[in-house]
């Protein structure tokens, strides 16, 4: 396996009353783009935040490790952590307008970031993300549309040419056309700078189109990961299959949608077995009591006791 830029190993994160990550593993190689998908509440945002050690105070890391370029993020001293964030990491959040300082013109915010880096000009950075530099630089965040604001946020995150960009649903509040434009910007810039991307998303088709790899999360674990086409086209984990099959866009008119039956788990401690077991049509006895270990199926790694048995059985209803 090629040298990993990001390694998350067995990460367990607890928020007082809930366990958000229950042993999540993720590996991202340099230059790779990884889409992280999964059920709402499965721990995507928590994973994303943990990569930059940006978890809220009440979150506790119970176990596991996060390494970026070999550096143990969770154990760094503050100054080292800041250096790491500055030099290697970039973040884009879901709500674009809220992630810009409302009291400062956009140009000034960019200049603050660039000034620190000592390179690039504001106009250039804005042009890079496809914005009318003159107009946007002198605007306050609340005067921008969501799409424009998100591109500004991307410009801020990419200004330092990070090695790894973590984007948490950066396009959820944007319309289809703007979404495509924003994603184009992100992926073009990343490709140009050799930046790896961890893209937390609900948008399976877009992930399939743009990412090298996909990681599917469920119940605080990455239950399946592998090349995007393979994971979404020929799932190895029953949950992936169910997820891919419930997309409304994929449904024919008049056909009832098929959500994954049952309710997502709310963990308060380690899941005794496979967290998907109660909802899994293929569950056997051991699934409830034995935590699955990663299994290599084809090009994917899956956390499923039955992954090998199910090859060819899972299909995406399209």
């Amino acid at each position: 396996m090629d040298k990993a830029l990001l390694e998350v190993d067995g990460l367990v994160v607890d928020y007082g009353r809930a366990r958000a990550l229950d042993g999540a593993d993720l590996r991202v190689a340099a230059g790779q783009t990884v889409g992280v998908v999964g059920e709402s509440g499965s721990g995507k945002s928590t994973l994303g935040a943990a990569i930059g050690r940006l978890l809220p105070r009440q979150a506790r890391v119970e176990a596991g490790e996060v390494r970026v370029a070999g550096e143990p993020v969770l154990d760094l001293r503050p100054a080292e952590l800041r250096r790491l964030r500055r030099n290697r990491l970039g973040f884009v959040f879901q709500d674009p307008i809220a992630s810009l300082d409302p009291t400062m013109r956009v140009g000034r915010q960019l200049r603050l970031v660039l000034g620190r880096e000592g390179r690039g000009d504001v106009a250039g950075q804005l042009a890079r993300v496809g914005l009318d530099a003159a107009r946007v630089a002198s605007a306050y965040p609340h005067q921008l549309s969501g799409g424009m604001a998100q591109r500004v946020a991307i410009a801020l995150a990419m200004a330092a040419s990070p090695e790894l960009l973590v984007a948490d649903e950066p396009t959820a509040s944007l319309d289809a056309q703007v979404r495509e434009k924003v994603l184009d910007v992100v992926f073009t810039l990343a490709a140009g700078a050799g930046t790896s991307i961890v893209w937390l998303s609900h948008d399976l088709p877009a992930v399939a189109r743009r990412c090298d790899r996909v990681a599917v999360m469920y119940g605080g674990r990455v239950v399946e990961s592998g090349p995007a086409a393979a994971v979404l086209g020929a799932p190895a984990h029953p949950y992936t299959a169910a997820l891919a099959g419930s997309a409304p866009a994929a449904a024919a008119p008049g056909v009832r949608l098929r959500p994954v039956p049952g309710r997502p788990p709310v963990l308060t401690g380690p899941s005794p077995g496979c967290a998907f077991e109660p909802r899994c049509p293929f569950a056997e006895e051991r699934c409830a009591v034995e935590r699955p270990a990663p299994v290599r199926v084809g090009e994917q790694d899956a956390l499923c006791h039955r992954a090998a048995d199910l090859v060819g059985e899972l299909e995406v209803v399209a």
Partner: protein
């Protein structure tokens, strides 16, 4: 044009407010027990003396007529004449204003320079074990020592060692203790409100240093309430720091007006109150303007 309109509107509403205040204070003064006659002429005054005094200051006219005359004179810049000193009130206020202004300036400067950092530190360190507790105690201590107690102590102790209590530094220091604490506490509250916002997380994620985030992002965002407080403190102090003026025997506006209230020296009280009101109103306008500049979101709403 729009600029003129905006200022015009604000000026008009301020003028109406001032007019309302003038009516109220005029009425209140005349409703106060203890007339000018008993107070100013003393118990031994004869009815003739009282009548003469009333005639001299037009106090024998109807209250409405008095108000009319006073207002007309006020419009021409004549604030009336003190019944005690027989001097024009405007001149006396002008003579006392520099005292009050210097005190205010010093105290407010201290409040901002010391209070804001203290507030930021206590907020940023608010989590348990962050050392914010010490700051909280410190800023709590400041508001818990009443001005008159601290002032008496300072005046007494300092003079005991033969040191002069003249000048503005000492009284300004006494005034500022309270102001510093108040500023610190308001700053803390405002900063805590900013810390939960996402753009702060975004800045942290960019690897900015705490100091950088405070300087560039937190201070501006927390400026609204702090500016409001500062303006209010400034207005309070410009209206007269009564106790400190007395303790340090500074001839400022506060003691002048309060003494005048005590003697029912109408013209002085009226002018003093309107001055304080005008200061307060102007400060409010200024703050609205400033806050709008610092935080464009609020400007939009104003």
């Amino acid at each position: 044009m729009r600029l003129l309109l905006w200022w015009g509107g604000r000026a008009l509403s301020s003028a109406v407010t001032l007019l309302g205040i003038s009516v109220l204070i005029f009425a209140a003064l005349r409703l106060m027990p203890g007339g000018f006659a008993e107070t100013i002429l003393g118990p031994f005054a004869t009815p003739e003396q009282k009548a003469e005094l009333a005639a001299r200051y037009g106090l024998d006219q109807s209250v409405l007529a008095q108000y009319g005359h006073w207002l007309a004179a006020f419009g021409t810049g004549d604030f009336g004449t003190s019944m005690i000193s027989r001097q024009p009130v405007a001149a006396e206020l002008a003579a006392r204003l520099p005292v009050t202004a210097q005190l205010t300036l010093l105290a407010v400067a201290a409040a901002v320079l010391a209070g804001v950092p203290l507030g930021v530190v206590t907020a940023v360190r608010a989590r348990p074990g962050g050392g914010g507790g010490a700051g909280r105690l410190l800023s709590g201590l400041g508001v818990s020592v009443p001005e008159f107690a601290l002032g008496s102590l300072v005046v007494f102790v300092v003079s005991r060692y033969g040191l002069q209590t003249t000048g503005y530094l000492l009284p300004a220091a006494v005034l500022s203790i309270f102001a510093i604490s108040a500023t610190a506490r308001t700053t803390r509250d405002a900063v805590l409100g900013v810390l939960v916002e996402q753009h702060i997380t975004a800045a942290v994620a960019r690897g900015e240093t705490p100091w950088f985030i405070i300087r560039h992002h937190i201070l501006r965002n927390a400026a609204g309430p702090v500016l409001t407080l500062t303006a209010t403190i400034t207005a309070y102090l410009l209206g007269g720091a009564l106790i400190v003026e007395y303790l340090f025997n500074l001839p400022g506006i506060g003691s002048y007006v309060v003494q005048a209230v005590g003697r029912r020296d109408y013209a002085v009280v009226q002018a003093g109150v309107l001055l304080a009101a005008a200061v307060f109103i102007v400060m409010n306008v200024l703050v609205d303007l400033l806050v709008g500049l610092v935080d464009p979101r609020l400007g939009r709403r104003a």
